[in-house]
């Protein structure tokens, strides 16, 4: 990948990374959206959506609750979606598993970068505690603008570094992949569906009867799929 190809992706990663927590939290950073957008930048929105749907299943596992540490799916989905869309014309068997693996790794890297950013924000806030205690408007605005800018840069850097790091490995793995396309995709799918299914089973425990509705929905889905 050359600079002209990577920079738009890094910008998209910066915007979507910012959306995860800082601004505007409209969930354009969800995998099904982010990966499709990245796929369209890389030449195939449909391929981006395919990767995004799988990543969305993984993302259902983790609730982005308050101070907890969780994977950051905005930048991860840009990396995964663009990688899969970029590998598609060659129809490599390894395209999907390699792209999803790159996205999962980026999600953890992104989560770790968010943790560092929040610690950095904390250091800055501590340094300006006296001004905040005096009701300084400029201190409040300064902290907000610095935090937002830093998060934007964080998202861009994570996307840039992950794309540059994983692209050559993905190209190699995609080329040399010996396991069949269908079986490779089935394995990725089984892992994604299992992750979402287990997450749903735990999540639906909170509402009385929801687990039965989940099983009923699965039965209806199976019947509908069989009829199609």
């Amino acid at each position: 990948m050359n600079v002209a190809e990577v920079l738009p992706l890094a910008f998209l990663g910066a915007v979507l990374g910012l959306d995860v927590v800082s601004f505007p939290q409209a969930m354009i950073s969800r995998p099904i959206v982010a990966s499709t957008l990245a796929g369209s930048l890389a030449g195939s929105a449909t391929s981006g959506l395919l990767a995004g749907a799988l990543l969305e299943l993984f993302a259902l596992e983790m609730l982005a609750v308050g101070a907890s540490r969780y994977p950051e799916w905005g930048t991860a989905s840009v990396v995964g979606g663009a990688m899969f869309a970029g590998m598609q014309p060659a129809n490599w068997a390894g395209a999907l598993p390699v792209s999803i693996a790159a996205a999962l790794l980026t999600a953890w890297l992104g989560g770790w970068s968010m943790y560092l950013l929040r610690r950095g924000n904390g250091v800055l806030a501590r340094q300006r505690l006296q001004e905040l205690g005096a009701g300084s408007r400029s201190a409040v605005l300064g902290l907000q603008v610095t935090g937002l800018t830093a998060d934007f840069i964080r998202g861009g850097l994570v996307t840039l570094l992950a794309t540059l790091a994983f692209a050559p490995a993905a190209q190699y793995a995609g080329r040399e992949w010996a396991f069949g396309t269908a079986r490779s995709e089935a394995l990725v799918l089984a892992l994604a569906v299992a992750t979402a299914g287990a997450a749903g089973w735990r999540l639906f425990h909170a509402a009385p009867g929801a687990r039965w509705l989940f099983l009923g929905g699965a039965a209806a889905g199976s019947a509908l799929a069989a009829l199609r």
Partner: protein, 255 residues
């Protein structure tokens, strides 16, 4: 305590507060969490205090509002509206600080159940159903984004209004049926759609390799059962990463 006044919030002030609410977590940190963000969002209203931007009342109020605060980001709108109202009503600082502390827990737990564990998964699985049924990329995105954002935008606008209207009596708003019973109904809807989505997705991805569908379903069920059993000790995404690394090793390295 200063004399109590009921003021209508000017449209521009209300719009500025709403716009700032989208960045309420802009400087989120482990020290004061979203404290700075709450002050940032309430600040346009605080300018209406006697003396304006240069007044002592403004600086004292802003200093109170940037202290430690935690809440769900969308329901923070309720806190911002209510705290701005309390400040403009001239409530005592001690009263405002107690009220502020009391708001944290309920706004966090209600928001997490309503949004992170309800609305977001519901919109997510609905878009997955749309995708599995063959919707085009743009349609799939629009299904998710329009539905989700109607909910979150509506919640922010309602939260700011109810916070401002109710002020220190805003606790009653948290007893609103949509907040009390909403999460249960939303979770049930997400459960039906989630169940529907998974088999449809299996067929969508493997429609050209139908013989693999049965085996993939059985494998997914076994892995899911393991993940449920090992909850808290093993995450699906980490297991997937390990599985994919092993597959890559097997597939790429010439044995």
């Amino acid at each position: 305590m200063t004399e109590k006044r009921i003021q209508a919030l000017p449209f521009r002030t209300r719009a500025a507060m709403l716009a700032r609410l989208f960045a309420v977590q802009g400087s989120w940190n482990y020290e004061i969490l979203m404290g700075t963000g709450i002050g940032f969002c309430a600040e346009p209203a605080l300018r209406l205090l006697p003396g304006g931007l240069q007044g002592v009342a403004y600086r004292e109020a802003l200093a109170r509002q940037v202290q430690y605060f935690n809440s769900h980001p969308y329901l923070a709108a309720i806190a911002v509206g209510a705290l701005a109202r309390a400040e403009l009503d001239g409530e005592s600082p001690a009263h405002i600080e107690r009220f502020r502390t009391a708001l944290c827990g309920p706004l966090g737990s209600v928001g997490d159940r309503l949004i992170w564990a309800g609305w977001l998964p519901l919109c997510s699985v609905l878009s997955l159903v749309a995708f599995a049924l063959g919707a085009a990329p743009l349609t799939t995105l629009l299904v998710f984004l329009m539905l989700y954002n109607v909910g979150q935008l509506g919640l922010r606008i309602w939260g700011l209004n109810v916070g401002w209207t109710q002020g220190m009596r805003v606790a009653s708003a948290l007893g609103h049926p949509a907040l009390r019973q909403g999460p249960i109904h939303i979770t049930r809807a997400a459960a039906v759609l989630g169940g529907l989505a998974l088999p449809l997705l299996l067929h969508r991805f493997l429609e050209e390799s139908r013989p693999l569908i049965g085996l993939t379903t059985v494998a997914a069920l076994i892995v899911a059962a393991g993940l449920v059993k090992l909850h808290g000790r093993l995450e699906g995404s980490r297991l997937a990463l390990l599985g994919l690394a092993l597959l890559a090793g097997y597939s790429v390295i010439p044995w």
